[in-house]
C-alpha cells in the first residue's frame, strides 16, 4: 500500500469522528455557554461548575476529544472545499500541509491547556 492510501482512511475517520462529536455536542454547548448567557436567557455559568467539569478526568478527556477532533474535522473538510470549490489543485500539498498543520499545532495546544 502506498503511504497515500494508508493515510486517506485514517484522515476520513478523524473527519467523521470530529463531525459526529461536533454535531451531537456543539450546538448545546454554544447555546448554554455563549449565546444564552449573553442574551439574558441564562445566568452565566459560575466558575465552580466550569472548573469542576474542566478539572475532572472525564471532562478533560471529553474536551480533548471534542476540540482535537473538531479541528481535524475542519482541516479535512476545509482542505477539500478549497481544493474543489476554488479549484486550487496546484496548491494541494500546500493546503493539505497548512490545514492539517494548523490542526496539529492547535491540538497540541489543546492537550497542554486542558491537562495542565
Amino acid at each position: 500500500m502506498s503511504g497515500r492510501r494508508l493515510r486517506e482512511p485514517g484522515l476520513w475517520l478523524l473527519f467523521s469522528a470530529g463531525g459526529t462529536l461536533a454535531a451531537l455536542f456543539l450546538p448545546a454547548l454554544v447555546m448554554v455557554l455563549w449565546v444564552a448567557p449573553s442574551v439574558g436567557w441564562l445566568t452565566p455559568p459560575v466558575h465552580e461548575t466550569l472548573a469542576a467539569v474542566a478539572g475532572g478526568v472525564l471532562g478533560r478527556l471529553f474536551l480533548t476529544a471534542l476540540i482535537v477532533l473538531a479541528l481535524y474535522h475542519w482541516a479535512h473538510r476545509f482542505r477539500y472545499t478549497l481544493y474543489d470549490g476554488l479549484q486550487l489543485y496546484h496548491l494541494n500539498q500546500l493546503i493539505a500541509g497548512l490545514t492539517y498543520g494548523v490542526a496539529t499545532v492547535l491540538s497540541v495546544a489543546a492537550a497542554v491547556v486542558v491537562w495542565r
Binding site: 470530529g18 463531525g19 459526529t20 461536533a22 454535531a23 451531537l24 455536542f25 456543539l26 450546538p27 448545546a28 454547548l29 454554544v30 447555546m31 448554554v32 455557554l33 455563549w34 449565546v35 448567557p37 449573553s38 442574551v39 441564562l42 452565566p44 455559568p45 466558575h47 461548575t49 466550569l50 472548573a51 467539569v53 474542566a54 474536551l63 471534542l66 476540540i67 473538531a70 479541528l71 474535522h73 475542519w74 482541516a75 473538510r77 476545509f78 477539500y80 472545499t81 470549490g85 476554488l86 479549484q87 492547535l106 495546544a109 489543546a110 491547556v113 486542558v114 495542565r116
Partner: protein, 135 residues
Amino acid sequence: MNPAYRRYHPKWYRARMPIFWWLRRVSYFRFIARELTSVFVAYAGVLLLVQVRSVAAGPEALARFTGWLQLPPVAALHVVVLLALLFHTITWLHLAPRAMVVRLGGRRVPDVAVLLGHYGAWLAASALVVWVVVR
C-alpha cells in the same frame, strides 16, 4: 480503433469548469455552505479551548471572558455560529444514515428508524451538556 488516439482527438469540445461552479445550482451552493460549516466547528473548538484556559486562570479571567461574550457584536457573532452549527448538525444527521446499513436480528433497520436514532442521540447529548453546565 486506438482509444489513446480518440482521447486526444483535437476536435472534441471540452467545456471549462467556471470558478463559480457552485453558484450554478442551488444544490451545489447548499453543498458548499454545508462544507463551510466546518470553519464554524473549528472556531467553536478553539473558543472552547480559550474558555478552558480562562477557567484554569481563575474566576477573574472567566469574568473577563464572560464580559467579552456579552458584547453585542460578539453575542451576534455567536448567534451566527450557533445557526451554522445547527446547519452542520442537521445535515450531518441526515447524511450519516446513508453511510450505514444497520441490521438488528437479521433484518435491515429502515432509514427512518436510523435517523430517529440519530436525533435521539443528539437530544441525549444536548441534555447531558445542559445538565452538566446549568446544574
